[in-house]
């Protein structure tokens, strides 16, 4: 850990971003990959007992999912029922959590690293057909993945009898088509089967009955991109990085009012202040300003503020969850300076969730729309002083108790995610929001048929 309060000096610890930073000219090509150690971890893994990889490498390294939930990857793999085949590995590359942009970078700039991780994971779990579900809008990413798959196949890293091991693997790269909800793993599987991308009730969990009702593991792009490095470094060495049960490094997508927005791979355990202020990372708030608030783990997380207590919190998945009820989630950190109207940010988040609600569960389908309409009214100068409490009441119907981690009246967490900005406004900006709503002589009636946002085009 390199944190000194008051003098942030943290730097990147580049493991999965090392190649794409060191050789930006050819990091995505087979030559660039193999010349920098690529596919050596696969070669080594294929000599090991497959089951030992999950337990003795991935689980021992403490690797947790990098998509949002932070579930231990090795444990997830161990849930596959014994003797049940075929089984599938599905890669979640449907990156759409607002302000997250790490998987796109990994897909575009180091696709072979992902393929190597897929091949090792597939060997470990006994899968011969893997799918990469890649976000539809990633045209360049898709092209690079397809090229990488073809080149890896031609070079014997995919296909039949890989490197003489007797292990076979094919990969299908599947284009999504613009639906945030498909980043939720059961919705992703529905979409991959050719249906509308709607979440399914669990159990059964995908590990038991997933794609085509077969045992299926769904892992995030960054998670699988890390696997070759755990093999290369050894689990014990990897687990030395990080803090507590948040081992290793993670890529944080830093955006908003900072001087140096971008993706930074850092050792877990540095603080939010390090990430936002260190000269080699975020470089501080623009124009010498101060943090008013920040969203620490993607749009679904509750917010934190510019207080010392929040800024000096370590990037530790469990610590921030237990202490503040927020999550590191997808690793997106959005920073807002003191010029920002928090109600406007909350409204735009609610608009996003209302648009992306799949419509399957009533509390989410109806509730997200109402939250968006009332937040529009507040943030655009038509609010009433009682509106914030009205929003909490709506939110309580989607996420009873308004706590984090969520309770939910819905199948998936999208609906409760739309409640996060409401609770955050209430916790940190209640007075500001109510002041915004005082003495408004303008009246904007919010009705189901006539949305307050009708002048804003498609939502």
């Amino acid at each position: 850990m390199t944190s000194v309060i008051g003098a942030p000096n943290a730097t990147e610890t580049r493991i999965i971003t090392k190649r794409l930073r060191d050789r930006p000219e050819d990091s995505w090509t087979l030559d660039g990959f193999t010349q920098s150690g690529g596919y050596e971890s696969l070669r080594a893994a294929l000599k090991l007992d497959p089951e030992a990889i999950g337990a003795e490498q991935v689980a021992a390294a403490g690797l947790r999912g990098r998509g949002g939930a932070g579930f231990p990857t090795g444990t997830k793999w161990s849930f596959l029922p014994k003797g049940s085949y075929p089984r599938y590995l599905v890669v979640n590359g449907d990156e759409g959590e607002p302000s997250t942009f790490k998987d796109r970078m990994l897909i575009e700039n180091d696709p072979h690293q992902l393929i190597e991780g897929i091949a090792i994971a597939s060997y470990a779990i006994g899968c011969n057909l893997a799918f990469i579900y890649v976000r539809g809008e990633f045209a360049l990413g898709f092209e690079r993945l397809e090229a990488a798959r073809r080149d890896a196949h031609a070079a014997g890293f995919l296909g039949t009898n890989i490197l003489g091991s007797g292990f076979d693997l094919d990969i299908v790269i599947h284009r999504a088509a613009g639906a945030y909800i498909c980043g939720e793993e059961t919705a992703l599987l529905s979409s991959l089967e050719g249906d509308r991308g709607m979440p399914r009730i669990r159990p059964p969990f995908p590990a038991v009955a997933g794609l085509y009702a077969k045992p299926t593991i769904v892992n995030n792009v960054e998670t699988l991109s890390t696997v070759p490095h755990i093999m290369r470094m050894g689990a014990a060495e990897y687990a030395k990085l990080g803090v507590n049960k948040s081992t290793g490094t993670r890529i944080f997508s830093l955006s908003g009012h900072v001087n140096r927005p971008g993706n930074y791979e850092v050792e877990l355990g540095i603080t939010f202040r390090d990430l936002i202020e260190s000269p080699e990372l975020g470089g501080g708030v623009r124009n010498g300003g101060k943090v008013k608030f920040f969203i620490p783990g993607g749009a679904s997380s509750q917010w934190l503020t510019g207080s010392d207590e929040h800024l000096d919190a370590p990037l530790d998945m469990d610590y921030v969850q237990q202490t503040f009820g927020v999550m590191l989630g997808s690793g997106a950190v959005m920073v807002y300076d003191e010029t920002t109207n928090p109600a406007l940010v909350a409204w735009r988040l609610a608009k996003f969730f209302a648009h992306e609600s799949c419509g399957k569960c009533t509390p989410c389908r109806e509730g997200t729309g109402w939250i968006e309409k009332v937040l529009y009214r507040i943030s655009h100068g038509y609010g009433r002083p009682q509106d914030l409490d009205l929003l909490l009441d709506v939110g309580d119907n989607i996420s009873p108790g308004l706590n984090a981690p969520f309770s939910q009246t819905t199948i998936c967490p999208l609906g409760p995610s739309a409640v996060s900005p409401v609770v955050s406004l209430h916790k940190f900006f209640r007075e500001e929001v109510i002041a915004m709503c005082q003495n408004n002589d303008r009246v904007l009636h919010v009705t189901a048929s006539d949305s307050g946002t009708s002048d804003l085009g498609a939502g």
Binding site: P98, E137, A139, L140, A177, S255, A299, M334, R348
Partner: protein, 167 residues
């Protein structure tokens, strides 16, 4: 229109990749849209026939996804992000400028979209799914004009052969 001979070969190869053919709906719809510029009724019928489901099932799936355009769109589809990072970095201003500038230009369709995963260089947009970042209203206009003149081109999204539509 129906798949061209070249795209039909690719379409059949795509269907064969999947253990169950219905999985091919999305990639085939992308292929058809790349070829025709939007997802036509005829294309959805042809896809249904290829994978053994009804046209209504293909429509039922495709209507869920915002990338599939079921009405004619301009040759250039410009997707401007206004989500929470672009919101505070000038995305809405880019959108408003482009909507006014191209209001009567049939070649250009401007749409507001959700987060494009380009927040490090906000505000961002895509032109036929090619990324353009760190935009101002002026630079966004210049980029669109470069596509109009043919100086810039897009690769398409399906890996297939583009026709007279987007591309």
């Amino acid at each position: 229109m129906a798949f061209t001979a070249e795209n039909l070969l690719l379409a059949n190869e795509i269907v064969a990749r999947y253990p169950k053919t219905k999985s091919a709906i999305l990639p085939l719809a992308h292929l058809a849209q790349d070829q025709d510029g939007y997802l036509t009724q005829d294309a959805m019928r042809e896809i249904a026939g290829m994978i053994g489901v009804t046209p209504a099932e293909v429509l039922g799936t495709c209507s869920f996804y915002t990338m599939f355009k079921r009405d004619e769109v301009g040759r250039l589809v410009v997707s401007v992000c206004t989500n929470v990072t672009c919101l505070v970095m000038g995305g809405p201003e880019v959108l408003e400028h482009l909507e006014q500038r191209y209001a009567s230009d049939k070649e250009v369709t401007i749409e507001e979209v959700e987060c494009l995963a380009a927040c490090g260089n906000a505000p961002a947009m895509q032109v036929n799914y090619e990324f353009h970042e760190s935009l101002t209203p002026g630079s966004a206009t210049e980029i669109i004009e470069a596509y109009k003149s043919g100086e810039l081109t897009a690769r398409g999204v399906s890996g297939g052969v583009a026709g007279g539509g987007q591309g």
